[in-house]
Point group: D2
Chain length 451, copies 4
């Protein structure tokens, strides 16, 4: 709720946003969280899991829309339909969405649709917007973003190989994609596909293009869905697809040939903030569950409530402390992004991207441990949460890639830092002289006495 | 292979055991590891997963038996049919078994059968042995051990509540059990059940009894199977069962009423060593897979092989170092157990129990990370391994319980340590006097000059 | 400099404070940091270390005063002479002070004087203020705060034993104190002493009183000065003192008998923020030095600059990330304190108190390691910094005490969290019913087929 | 004592060595530990610290010699005067030596003399042995090993620059050295100096030579002594020296020009084991002190003994567990060295070199924390211990260098691991075919229903 907004940002959050945060919080806690197991139940079993559209989702979407909770992610001023929240404000709401599996979709704020809508809003032409952005913003269809490929190290996008060749008025696509999140959902109708139109271009950042490909285009085959630590995440899931001579009209090109890199880079900032804030919401849920367990009167190992076993209160304190610190890191990035755009907030976003999943995993793992056997199974949301967030350490750029980049950037200060210290040392020498002072070093008189 | 046996224990391993280790290693690497995906394929889908008995398992069992790889776990001298390996020797073999999912069962060395066979061998009477131990040792049937209950903190066995009442020549059982590993397997025919025959006994360690209950006894219901981070571990799985007026003849009591605690305590030592050594085997597999990935010529993020990215070699070095240290800890415990029995090796076993899963999880997690998306899905054994080993931090006594116990034991040295230090300090005082020496403390002359 | 103020708080910092931050930064970088080794040189050797008053300090004080950098710590509105900065604003300045050893004293913002001035300003009567606060605020004298005692666990202030007995118009003090920081300085003229006037009071928080004791009162003996990892921190140092029938007039009582607890509690909030922000400044210095080393052209182990050895850039990135996160945590606490006072900011202050030293120690230790041998010796400020900050994990309340307290506080949400989750589960049950849905659990059909 | 020798190695330790371990243990506990503060007192203050030879040391040496505790480090069969212990056996004794500061010197087993004696014994000619090795082995003089230089990254020995030029029958040395441990001791009479005789040799490992230089040779200046976190380690200390036209006869060359690398490499193995085992001894002392503190009846924060505060028992348990694991790692390396020499034990020694200091630092830091303020000052041996062991993470090859090397070595298995896994995958494919099995992948039937 708005009352929990940290002091440090409170004055930047409009009253309207605070009010809306309370609405989101109430909706999530009272409608979405209870609906999560219903969703899972409605997804069904076996093959049906990939054909189902759980009715509970539409019920929640209707309610969310009525409450004004719709497309909140669309940044202020960015698009006519934007509800007008800043990244900070939406970030605060996103934390609440992160407490429930279904909540983001219920408010039409679920990945990868959010990023895809941003791409279309920012780079799509009028026809593309009409055809795909509109139904997406209406929650009528869903979408997938197809970049990663099984054959190459995709954390470096220049490695992408899917072949896009122009033949007359069509582009012909050949290749494989995997980790196409959302591709399992029967409502997923459009793929935003990255591939190479000009693999021999000398500039490795001009070889790629982004093309819109309807999901039912002939030649596309979903080979299978990928599991994440045993979870299939149905119905949206993560697809492994083959493209064999898949043809789309040239008008499906976004922005123009060779501009793929530009597009995917513009896509990443806000999404990272959203994931991070949702992870914080998940951490709060984990902490709540842990609090429930350690105060459970029926669970007394060795004659004491769990909360009375010394180490447990320390887990709780650390979790509280780490979550609170993590939140500040993300909100700072959101504000920087509000002020200077994703480019200006590069460092802050990368820090949030790396720090938050690690914090969340630690907190959730503690909660799991506090539940004993119950923690790893289907009786709490914890194990599933953990698996989902574990992937954030490698999706969207693995930790190591971000750390290398951040290290290189910070190291640019090397010369300046060196020079400053050298200047200070020179000044010390001067001062020493002026004051007739001399550094006392032990043992300076050793030789004289020894020889 | 035997060549990898650490120097420190090599001289304690008989030539015969070394030879056999090579046989195990070859069997695991050439027959079992390749069979793991076949097993998974034969388990099938949906409800069938709980009715299947994968033919590949029997094929491997036949081969193992022919190779002399059968019941190796049964400690030397302990039982007529024991192949005669020491805990150390079997530990070394168990590391190899841990490299494959199917290998332990193929050699009739899989949990929970191993512990159950030990219970029957050690505490069962002749009739019980004939009826249950024999087919278990022949690999004809499987078994489950039912202690943990959903309603109480089961890491403290005195909390167990399942009610066992004598009525005439029968015991009547009522209550719930969960995490009954193996209960899913259609071949699982016998449950070793712990419950309370005398809940009001003043001695909390005399309230429990262990009873043998055939799986098909009326009144037993498997409510469902539990998932572990999304994996169902079919066909053996982990059952959640209800007992409603389940009746067994009084002859099914093991050892006698009130002796349940004694029985489960005797059960735990060797199993912990086995789990630990298997986890080390799993860690080695993870390291091998990581080595494969980081040298994969087709995976070059940012123009370099992964092994050329600085941090990766450090991961490999640390993994090697941590696995090697972990192995020594377990083998030391095994030797202590060989020499002084499980009781004498309490400390060493607890140390292995706590340390090894943490090491293995760290190593496996690094391997997962090095694979990017591939690491968390079904394309490597890594994610599944991680989930399995994660449970070892809480099953068989959570880390925290062991640490408390170990801390209390170590702290018993408190008085002795204090007295020794005090004695040394007294002696210092004497020496100072004799030498006319005085501790130089800074600032001892301050007051004189200031006042 | 003001340009580095994090986005998240930038709008709360007045232009005047920004301007002043630049002044502080310049003063610290150009005057104080170069003066640090001069200070150390002027402190001298042997006994002289406790009698010296380095001239460089007065030189810097004069300059600071001229620049308007004086008593910046005194919170806004709190005292007539306060320069009027908020805790946030002073916090930002304090980070700069933390880059130099001498800077805080140069600006009359050094502990323990700051806390002592606050005590006097807040709780002292007019005569006490005139006599002690005025010269302290003028930088004419220094002070010490004497709470901790060698004989008891002083992290729990109720254990304090120093005996304060009223005899006529005097209080007579008997007992020992140690870790009396600043007691070594020849200019330290006043001790703020906590002791027990009413040890048998039933309310353990009413037994203590705080009394002002001039340093040169007969009966006080400085037994010795304590070292911190080999450093003596001369001239201020940390004294171990004995009080033998030390007599002060009753007018030296602060606030009244039995109000000692109240006083020391009011003292702690701001000081923790100051220490934390200074530690962040120290971390920045460490990072700068590390940047210097890893780019040093003359230091090429194995043919590469240190920055080219993979792991180093990751150290730099992590250090940057952790420092930035830590800063947000402290600034958030400062703002909360600005808005709700130290009591209202209890949680936030405790989080900063625990988190920041750990972060700083990690960062500094990395810098030390990057210097090899040079890192642990007197040639960089790093080892000394590390030792100083290490003590913050136990001074002013050890980490464990804060964590316990924080854990207990957070755990108060236990019932509310439990009830909320239970409510949500009840609602799920309703929804399931209404939707005719049922949770799919694996294995629910096992029994039927088996029996 | 011998009773604490881990089960895993017990059978490799001769009865005589066990008996001797008891003698060492008794000598250390009863004579050396109490003498440590006496030593410190006798070292004195100021300049005197570098001129003193504490009488207590000679007293202990006499006693040690009488007990047969002399030069135990000299490996079996290695040298006529060797007492004949294996590396394992001496390792076990060295743990005891590590409990006291003075013990190693008392038994003539102190660094750097031990390594230097090994060099002389292994590579010195008869005259060199007579002149320097004999008095060293008799404990008459002490020595220093001068490799590290302030101007270069010395963790890579090829960087060493000290110039050694032949002029007629003399070598002339010019350059700087620092971290010359032992150079402060007035009894230190011989320096083993590494420098370059042939800096332009194409083979970077043939440029160096090792020369024996008497400490009183004209042209040598001890500029100052280096501090380690505030400690000066007097009288032996760590010198920073300048060599200006220092002349020694050509007969002082060891082994021959260009063979310096060979010599220093032969020097390192055993020393690392000794340091590691002594660090384990230090850790045991730290744990003992912690046990004393947490059971101290006079230290009751918040109404409970420290041992009753939950987290403390966990610290104790972890410390016990980590020390025990660390010991196994070192002893395993010692055994490997006994069996295959330092080269054959490269991996094991490196693992011990990296792991043990980290473990010891963690354990000692916990002990410090448990003492509160007392832990960081001169009242316990803890802070000094910590500082000493911290340097082991960078002396003798920093952690990072060892990890890189270990990573590279382990990675050599890359191809073999890859091929094995590939072979297993091929075999899986065959088995699948033969069994008519197929991997069940979720979602394989998606397209059919969707299109
Ligand atoms: C649940 C989930 C959902 C996803 N959803 C989508 C989606 O919707 N659309 C989509 O296109 N993709 C998606 N992805 C894919 C994801 O973005 C990629 O997995 C990720 O970018 C890493 O690429 P990769 O798997 O090819 O790993 P690789 O690029 O091969 O990297 C493997 C590992 O190498 C290491 N590494 C890489 N570079 C460096 C370096 N410079 N220094 C040190 N180490 C390095 C890292 O440890 C890394 O994890 C998803 C992934 C997951 C797990
Ligand atoms: C995969 C798997 C297989 C299993 N197989 C079997 C089986 O075959 N048969 C069987 O009977 N059981 C089995 N178990 C159950 C397992 O042994 C129990 O889960 C375990 O003993 C913990 O009991 P619990 O789940 O009731 O947790 P609880 O006892 O409620 O403990 C919960 C948590 O409380 C904390 N805690 C407990 N005591 C203390 C303490 N003293 N100090 C501090 N913290 C404490 C710990 O963090 C612990 O994890 C299995 C479990 C798993 C996950
Ligand atoms: C450099 C330095 C400067 C200082 N300056 C001053 C000063 O100017 N004036 C002054 O009065 N004091 C000063 N102190 C003292 C400092 O405040 C105390 O050392 C601190 O409060 C701890 O008290 P103690 O040393 O008596 O440790 P104890 O109270 O005996 O505590 C020892 C340890 O016990 C453990 N512990 C305590 N309580 C708990 C708990 N509830 N749960 C778990 N573990 C627990 C912690 O690990 C703690 O570190 C200074 C200390 C240092 C090191
Ligand atoms: C207490 C003490 C006693 C000593 N005694 C002696 C003695 O008696 N005689 C003697 O000759 N020397 C002695 N030394 C010196 C010691 O051996 C050197 O300090 C050590 O070898 C490191 O060399 P350096 O200090 O030149 O650091 P550098 O070689 O400059 O290395 C600095 C840092 O760079 C990093 N680094 C280096 N290489 C790599 C790499 N490949 N990858 C990643 N990071 C890397 C590491 O973090 C390293 O710590 C002693 C040192 C100490 C502290």
């Amino acid at each position: 709720m708005s009352a929990k907004i940290p002091a440090i940002v409170s004055n930047r959050v409009s009253d309207e946003a605070k009010r809306m945060t309370d609405v989101v919080a109430k909706f999530v806690e009272e409608d979405c969280v209870p609906a999560d197991p219903v969703l899972e139940a409605q997804v069904g079993e076996g093959d049906a899991r990939w054909e189902s559209h759980p009715p509970i989702v539409e019920e929640l979407k209707a309610k969310a829309r009525k409450l004004g909770l719709w497309n909140m992610f669309l940044p202020k001023g960015y698009y006519a339909e934007s509800p007008g929240w800043t990244n900070l404000e939406y970030g605060i709401m996103a934390e609440w969405l992160g407490r429930s599996r279904v909540a983001s979709e219920a408010c039409n704020c679920a990945a990868p649709d959010t990023g895809n809508m941003e791409v279309l809003a920012k780079y799509g032409n009028a026809a593309q917007k009409e055809k795909w952005l509109k139904p997406l913003m209406d929650g009528k269809i869903r979408s997938a973003f197809l970049m990663t490929e099984p054959g190459v190290a995709s954390s470096d996008a220049t490695n992408i190989e899917l072949d896009i060749k122009r033949e007359g008025n069509e582009y012909v696509l050949n290749g494989q994609k995997w980790w196409s999140s959302g591709a399992g959902d029967p409502r997923c109708q459009i793929y935003i596909v990255m591939g190479k139109t000009d693999p021999s271009n000398r500039d490795p950042y001009r070889q790629q293009s982004v093309v819109l490909v309807p999901a039912n285009t002939p030649g596309i085959k979903i080979n299978r869905m990928l599991r994440v630590y045993g979870y299939d995440d149905a119905p949206h899931g993560h697809g492994h697809l083959t493209f064999t001579n898949v043809r789309v009209p040239v008008s499906n090109m976004v922005l123009g040939e060779g501009r793929g890199f530009e597009i995917i880079q513009g896509r990443l900032g806000p999404g990272r903030i959203h994931h991070a804030m949702r992870s914080i919401g998940a951490s709060e849920v984990a902490l709540d569950w842990m609090l429930m367990r350690v105060n459970d009167e029926s669970k007394k190992p060795f004659g004491k409530l769990l909360r009375e076993h010394g180490v447990i209160l320390e887990w709780i304190a650390k979790s509280r402390m780490e979550i609170d610190a993590a939140r500040l890191v993300v909100l700072n990035a959101a504000i920087k992004m509000d002020e200077q755009g994703p480019k200006g907030a590069l460092k802050e976003i990368a820090q949030a991207k790396v720090l938050i999943p690690q914090t969340a995993l630690t907190v959730i793992d503690r909660a799991i441990q506090s539940f004993g056997g119950a923690g790893v199974c289907q009786d709490t949301p914890l194990a599933n949460m953990w698996a989902g967030i574990r992937t954030l350490r490698l999706a969207d750029g693995p930790d190591e890639v971000h750390l290398q980049q951040m290290g290189r950037n910070e190291n640019k200060r090397g010369r300046e830092a060196t020079e400053r210290i050298k200047r200070q040392q020179a000044r010390t020498a001067e001062l020493m002289k002026r004051h007739g002072a001399q550094t006392a070093q032990p043992g300076t008189r050793i030789r004289h006495s020894k020889m």
